[in-house]
Symmetry: C2
């Protein structure tokens, strides 16, 4: 009756998550989100000054799921001087029928990283051209790694080209990618990368575009996952204008943040032409209809992804304990 | 660096809380809230159908405090058939400088109960007449008990009169109150109670008034703590009209919920006459200025109270562990 909730630390979560393929979990999450079967209230926010910091509270549930989920994620830039990661986070699972706390996944932000990468795989699965000769990654951080790893589940291509600003970071990235089975090459700029890659992921925190539409070749898919606010941006106006298909993880979020919000404001994309990823997955709306099209997926991150990964990971852990 | 957060269960919290006087803690919380030193964003809400339920997420911090607090509280009426309490809850404390989770107080709603009662003591301390010959309690539930207990810290009066709808509940209440040092008497109705009590607490979930202003005597203080929504109500229009001093725990909340919201809509109270509890505590605005006045305090519950009690309880527990 008064059962104690499970507290699961990041080391345990990391062990469970490693090698697990979340493409199907995210696919189902986006599908149900676009069907209106997910309850995702507005994000709660708490801001701090001196030292500066921000906390986001995302919560919701998918109808029929056993748990509702509350995610509390923070960013405190000053942590670097304490040798602590700037971002932290946890997810709480509650019983949907009683409100009882079932588990605290103290994942320190790991599950957010993983679900974000899995969304990239879903976008590529449904939008990339059939033939991908080379994957292009712009960025050399955590997501630049996880996005490439997640793509292994949806494409057999292992040729990879990377572009980043700092040569040391690029070299380190190539070493790491080689270790996990890719043949990495280094691009001298984004134009060179766009010239030979059919599946491009921008994974930066850029505030100015890192990819120019003029360089995009027909038959390219671009997933832009770095911008989740109005002041961040990875794709220029021309990239969005040239896109034959523009896909958002969440249409309502895309209107106010990310690449699509910029493109709408600039008139490069019309609101009616924005397709939701779940609508492509369900077949309700077409995604890519020709191998020569340019497709763009803009991922801003939706709370339904948090619900989905928390449920999936907890299910795996609790099944192992039976 | 990666210190594990403390998980503190309700049994431990109950032991710490028992006999602890939170009047000063709540006094400070209201004071700082009214001074604008507390950051309390709007409450997050998650609703469920079939079985019905609701979840509230309250969060915030007081400037200068070491922790910010997120409270997640739920109400699932269907729990009764499972022999589970309908309400549940927990509070999370995070380090205000790093965002790290410090503690999970799995209090199952206990701390909300305690802080609500402590607010009643603060209201009585600052608004009740000097001479209280008898305390009047309307209601026989958890808050009817805790409010009386909390009043012991601010008045020496131990004479208590109770009114409730169910005779068995009233009898049980009297037994319990005797055990904790009160001399209880039973009122046949609210009029009888109002005739002999100078300090009245309404602690019900009533949707229709349980106390009529026509029965109030000069020199009475009333704390109405039961209504926290627009559909709940404990005091009639006349009670509010007759009040010489009307005090809210939060002016902004009082405009939209609780007794004051009803009274404003009915023109029984003018918005400019609503005083905030913290303003009375600080002396910025007068509370009771004569022993013959009727004062009313309307408590709707403010997230700053959750922050204050979570910090106070955690501080005590962590000090004990050093």
């Amino acid at each position: 009756m008064n059962q104690r909730a499970a507290v699961i630390d990041v080391e345990r979560i990391r062990r469970e998550v490693e090698g697990m393929d979340f493409t199907g979990v995210m696919e189902a999450a986006f599908l149900r989100y676009s069907r209106g079967e997910a309850i995702v209230p507005p994000v709660g926010e708490l801001l701090f000054a001196d030292p500066p910091g921000e906390v986001h509270i995302k919560y919701g549930y998918v109808m029929g799921d056993r748990h509702y989920v509350v995610k509390i994620a923070s960013g405190f830039p000053g942590n670097a001087v304490r040798e602590l990661p700037a971002s932290d986070g946890l997810m709480l699972l509650f019983d949907r029928e009683t409100g009882a706390l079932v588990a605290l996944l103290h994942d320190r932000g790991l599950l957010t990283d993983v679900r974000t990468a899995a969304a990239g795989a879903v976008a590529a699965k449904h939008l990339a051209p059939k033939e991908v000769e080379r994957i292009g990654i712009i960025g050399t951080g955590v997501q630049a790694r996880l996005q490439a790893l997640a793509l292994k589940t949806v494409t057999s291509c292992r040729d990879l080209m990377v572009w980043g600003r700092r040569p040391e970071a690029v070299a380190e990235y190539c070493d790491d990618m080689q270790t996990v089975g890719f043949q990495p090459a280094v691009a001298s700029d984004a134009a060179e990368l766009a010239a030979s890659c059919q599946l491009i992921v921008t994974a930066t925190a850029a505030h100015e575009p890192v990819l120019a539409g003029v360089h995009l070749k027909p038959g390219t898919h671009v997933t832009a996952m770095g911008s989740d606010t109005l002041d961040k941006r990875e794709l220029d106006t021309e990239s969005m204008r040239r896109a034959d298909v523009v896909v958002a993880d969440s249409r309502s979020q895309a209107l106010v943040r990310g690449e699509i919000a910029h493109a709408l404001r600039e008139g490069a994309v019309a609101e009616k032409d924005v397709v939701e990823l779940g609508q492509v997955i369900s077949g309700e709306l077409p995604g890519r209809t020709s191998q020569l099209q340019i497709t763009v997926a803009d991922l801003t991150g939706v709370a339904v992804q948090d619900c989905a990964i928390a449920n999936a990971v907890y299910e795996k852990i609790s099944a192992a304990q039976v």
